[in-house]
Amino acid sequence: MKLDWWVVWQHRDALVEGTLVTVALTMVTMLIAVPGGIMLAVMRLGRSRPLALASASFVEFFRNLPLILVVYWAYYVMPILLGVQLDAFTTGLAALALNVSAYNAETFRAGIASVRKGQTEAALALGMSRWQALREVVLPQAARRVLPVLASTWVSLFKDTSLVSVIAVGDLAYNAMRVRSQTFRVLEMLTAMAVIYWGLGYPQAKLVDWLHRRFGVRE
């Protein structure tokens, strides 16, 4: 069997574009899912029973569904529900953001709950509102616990963006597989795709390990 690695270089533009889309999807999803997660965690830990229940249900729901199903569901159902045809990128983004918000909610909930109750009481005793206490006292302390887990979530998200390829979003996976179909150079393109993901993912995974060592809390 003759391998033609030149094909990979020839189509490098498609691969670079795909990588940029992958990175963009990851970043924008996190930009939405971090505040989203905090909001859900605060709802869950707050005093309003209905809000706590709504938050818990949302989190349980999205943590117990395959992401690929959420992607398909968003693609077919969202246009009908919202009455507006969204482009594939936005649909994929929505599916990812919903999914990751649910995971972040759990992360922030555990982080916030790990800060001693007395800290909130001391803040309230000074006359702060619950929101001020959260912002000034609790979240900065929770951040230490939360950071390594968020970093892990980021890396998982980076890999999960590959799933939006099933709804034809031009990420790295989609572009690589499209070039494969066009050129019939299956082994070369698929290996190139794997190598690029590996090249981007490996350092990120190592960074996460370092963060866990640096900021991790011993049980």
Partner: protein, 221 residues
């Protein structure tokens, strides 16, 4: 807005078959990855020194690459490299096992390491050999600590089997996709799919939490 669930009723056997395949693939993968992952994890802790960099490379690489990529590569590229063609189900089983075993290996390694040094020293002081200490003292405690993470491996496996749809494994996700496409009723089909997956996955996490709650004290030293 009208809902028409009749395509689901008509195709329920087809979908049920897909569900069985999902469960079969999940079970196979869990068993395979538990076996492989435990072997790799223990080897990283207690195995020969020369093997450690290679095993570390395997584990870290699987953490860095999406499941989709491993699945697709195993089904389309592997045959070209080795002249061995795996049918979709088995390609998926191998790919998923390799991918998830890496996670299991990490869980096992972290679990063993988390049991305090002092426990090993205490066991050795009584006169146990290293092997006995690991089997009697370290491993049981480590297993308890690993339970929540291992439980989530089951959950992750079931979710990842849905991705096997992209290499045409006729499991539940793929079959739902087919029915949705043919019947032009995607909302109903995918909503039911969501409910089905939820009904499978939700108890899995709950049962793991329950078991862990019961035995957690056994792992604290």
């Amino acid at each position: 807005m009208e809902f028409d669930f009749s395509p689901l009723v008509d195709s329920w056997q087809y979908l049920a078959g897909g569900l069985l395949l999902t469960l079969a693939l999940s079970l196979l993968t869990v068993l395979g990855s538990l076996a492989l992952g435990t072997a790799v994890g223990l080897a990283r802790c207690y195995g020969p020194r020369w093997s450690r960099p290679a095993l570390a490379f395997y584990v870290d690489s699987m953490r860095s690459v999406p499941v989709l990529v491993v699945l697709v590569w195993m089904y389309f590229a592997f045959p070209l490299l080795t002249s061995v063609t795996l049918p979709p189900f088995w390609a998926a089983a191998v790919a998923l096992t390799l991918h998830i075993a890496a996670y299991v290996a990490e869980i096992v390694r972290a679990g063993m390491v988390s049991v305090r040094e002092g426990q090993m020293r205490a066991a050795l002081a009584i006169g146990m050999s290293r092997r006995q200490a690991v089997a009697e003292i370290i491993l049981p405690q480590a297993i308890v600590r690993m339970l929540p993470a291992l439980g989530s491996v089951l959950s992750i496996t079931i979710k990842d089997t849905a991705i096997a749809a992209v290499i045409a494994v006729p499991e539940y996700m793929k079959r739902s996709e087919t029915v949705a496409g043919q019947s032009y009723h995607p909302i109903e089909v995918f909503t039911v799919a969501a409910i089905v997956y939820f009904l499978i996955l939700f108890p899995v996490t709950r049962i793991v939490d329950l078991i862990y709650g019961r035995v957690a004290h056994l792992g604290r030293s």
